[in-house]
């Protein structure tokens, strides 16, 4: 490695003395070609990263506007692809360790930084980041290469099994069902490999929904039946007395149960029994898996959830384990907001338990019941409960009530039932992406002009495109959310509504008219009926201005088409060279004769029609 790869360093450090020290160390190195920029707060760092190319970030996470892990997360979110070296004070090794988990490549300890260590950290961090990127690309590429043939295989089998081509004879259907089930299993396997990789890097997306535990456990038992029979082990399920529902990602939870079962089966004696039980408590559901194996050796207990940990390497190999199963279980359960543990079973063997929050408990949290009466109510579409609860608490201080929607479906139901003041949307939701949610919200008349703010844990790429799109998003905030900015945004939604520019569809070839209309709204000018029809399919308009020559040629074909995507009729102003023969049509709101009307007069008419329409949106005009 050489300095070739490091040309621009961003030093985020609010102590001028410390900043000078680092600057001098780099200067002494004779690496004058390196450009070192020092900023003293996180917002300045974010601004710099958005505008300038940086090869590495040196971050002191004790800043006026961001501290500790929060600062590290923000730096990482602002530039996920840039290597990050954290400068920790006071020998805070625990923060340093967490920093590495949050995406930092290395850390230095303040007061102990010397030149060689600094240079080495910079070079190693750069190299580590490069390797990380290569590994990501490799995993992603391999996964794609495997998925492409799997798409054709599972797609074809799925069509056959769905009887899309006709009914199948019994024996053929059974064999195809085996092929279909296994092709899907292979798809999941490819996904799992990618997941292990991503889980390690902390980049797994969890899709939370309402999950009934018993059918899911039965599914896992069924899937492991062959495996259990191979070991001569029976699996018995003691069902809960009441329906036990949790809030979880069903695929991940299935992965947890499957891993616990296969673990218990592997360590059971022949003819042994694995007992699975589901118990429902007031706030949580507890799932236990008990085996009658040798139990967990005392020495091994502290290591059991460690990656690649195996009590007896020889035994584990013989059992076909990878040493990853329980580690994956723990990582998933923690992300599901639950806990996992184990104990010695009375009479020998081991009991593993997983405890997850009850659906009722989580669903009960969705409506904000503790806010001040009369507080403006917001809808937060976010599937991570911890994030949602934190944001609710902060917004409550600012005088807002915040309801939660954990999925796109949930959000649409809630939005239809309650008129929200503003909606905050996470881009990642379990049953669809946030963008499609926004598309659907905008199709609801009552949310046409409601402020929508995107809250994303992802990179800010795409932000400007979304802002500029017709979805009319008022802002895009990265997590963790800058609360002051959010509150400022929410404080002026009415101003936003009033300032929305009307959208005018202009069907004409007259540039002067287009320019004049541009003064009062966003104008889409098309020169033919076909183009007008296309424009109506993808965008909503408040009003259409038609040249009569085109309208005449089109009528009666065009006028019935002039509806927005919600089916509302769009008022039409006809601009004609001579007669007003179309003015008698109920759909035509006003007709202006080109020959004896100036463009100014047309603009005045359009302005007038828009004012009456926007004041009463949405309504049928015809």
């Amino acid at each position: 490695m050489s300095w070739r790869l490091i040309k621009a360093i961003l030093l985020v450090e609010d102590s001028p003395g410390d900043a000078r020290l680092i600057s001098e160390m780099l200067d002494e190195q004779g690496s004058r070609s390196i450009e070192l920029t020092n900023v003293d707060c996180m917002s300045a760092a974010e601004k710099h990263l958005a505008e300038r190319a940086v090869d590495i970030i040196l971050l002191d996470p004790g800043l006026p506007d961001a501290q500790g892990l929060g600062a590290i997360r923000r730096a990482h979110a602002a530039a996920p692809r840039i290597p990050l070296v954290v400068i920790t004070g006071l020998d805070d090794e625990s923060l340093a360790e967490q920093a590495l988990q949050e995406g930092a490549q290395d850390y230095l300890i303040k007061g102990q930084i010397e030149q060689r260590a600094l240079l080495r950290a910079l070079r190693y961090a750069t190299e580590r980041k490069r390797l990380e990127r290569l590994k990501d690309e490799f995993v992603s590429t391999v996964s794609h290469e495997l998925r492409t043939p799997l798409t054709s295989i599972s797609g074809s089998l799925g069509l056959l099994m769905g009887n899309a081509i006709g009914n199948l004879p019994g024996p053929m259907a059974r064999l195809l069902a085996i092929a279909h089930t296994n092709s899907q299993r292979l798809v999941r396997l490819v996904d799992d490999i990618l997941d292990i990789e991503k889980m390690e890097a902390g980049r797994v997306v969890f899709n939370f929904s309402r999950v009934e535990v018993q059918p899911l456990v039965e599914q896992a038992i069924e899937a492991n039946r062959g495996f259990a029979e191979g070991y001569g082990v029976r699996v018995r399920l003691e069902a809960a007395r009441a329906a036990a529902e949790v809030r979880a990602d069903p695929d991940r939870l299935l992965q947890v149960v499957t891993n616990l079962l296969s673990n218990a089966i592997k360590f059971s004696p022949t003819d042994g029994e694995v007992a699975v039980a589901i118990e429902k408590g007031p706030d949580a559901v507890r799932l236990t898996v008990r085996d009658h194996g040798p139990g967990i050796p005392v020495d091994f207990k502290p290591l059991i959830f460690e990656k690649f940990a195996q009590a007896d390497a020889g035994v584990a190999r013989q059992k076909g384990g990878t040493g990853l199963g329980l580690s994956i279980v723990k990582q998933i359960v923690e992300r599901l907001g639950g806990e996992v543990g184990f104990a010695d079973a009375p009479g020998g063997g081991a009991i593993f338990h997983v405890q997850l929050p009850c659906w009722d408990h989580v669903a009960g949290l969705a409506t904000d019941r503790e806010a001040k009466p009369g507080a403006a109510r917001l809808l937060l579409c976010e599937d991570d409960l911890d994030t949602a609860l934190t944001l609710r608490e902060q917004l409550r201080q600012a005088g807002f009530a915040t309801d939660f929607a954990y999925s796109v479906g949930d959000a649409l139901t809630r939005a239809a039932a309650t008129q929200y003041h503003a909606i905050l949307v996470d881009i990642h939701l379990p049953d669809g992406d946030g963008v499609s949610l926004i598309v659907r919200l905008r199709q609801m008349p009552q949310y046409r002009d409601t402020p929508i703010v995107v809250v994303s844990g992802d990179t800010s790429r795409g932000r400007d495109d979304l802002r500029a799109s017709k979805l009319d998003i008022i802002d895009w905030l990265n997590k963790p959310v800058d609360l002051d900015r959010l509150v400022r945004l929410l404080a002026k939604p009415v101003a936003h509504e009033a300032s929305r520019r009307p959208r005018i569809l202009h069907v004409d070839e007259d540039n002067a008219v287009a320019r004049a209309l541009g003064e009062i709204g966003d104008v889409v000018t098309v020169s033919s009926i076909e183009e007008a029809q296309c424009a109506l399919k993808v965008g909503d308009f408040d009003l259409a201005v038609l040249d009569v020559a085109i309208a005449k040629a089109a009528s009666p074909d065009l006028l019935p088409e002039l509806r927005d995507s919600k089916g509302n009729v769009i008022p039409v102003v006809v601009f004609s060279a001579d007669g007003l023969d179309l003015a008698s049509d109920a759909r035509v709101q006003a007709a202006q004769a080109k020959s004896h009307t100036s463009i100014d007069s047309l603009v005045a008419t359009v302005r007038d029609r828009l004012a009456s329409r926007l004041a009463s949106v949405p309504r049928e005009i015809a």
Binding site: T459, E530, A535, K537
Partner: protein, 131 residues
Amino acid sequence: MTSIRILLVDDEPDIREVVDVSLGLDRDFSTRACATGADALVTAAEWSPALILLDVMMPLMDGPATLANLRKNPRTAHIPVLFLTARTQSEEITQYISLGALGVLSKPFDPMTLAASVRSYLPPSAGDHAS
């Protein structure tokens, strides 16, 4: 009721066939398929589909480049595009959306529900007065 035109662009002939059958489960859809981005640009301009299903990884002109070219032509600029891709890590999805795609459908897909997923991205009135 006229048919809703869906243009599929994928370099894999097998996938084209599976998608064609899957979309055929919705009787309102009429599907055409192109093997390259270049073909897609021509077909989209001539045929004016209601929606384009676009693969990402294709030789010569990949999905994002095809989308950019569609947007440059006034005849195709407005046509909504859904990516149909095996590359669906969260970062990748954000990137596709930022390019102007309406959404992302992942491969492998469920062939029995693909048509319904595609339809959910079309305006509710699609099919009533499609050209």
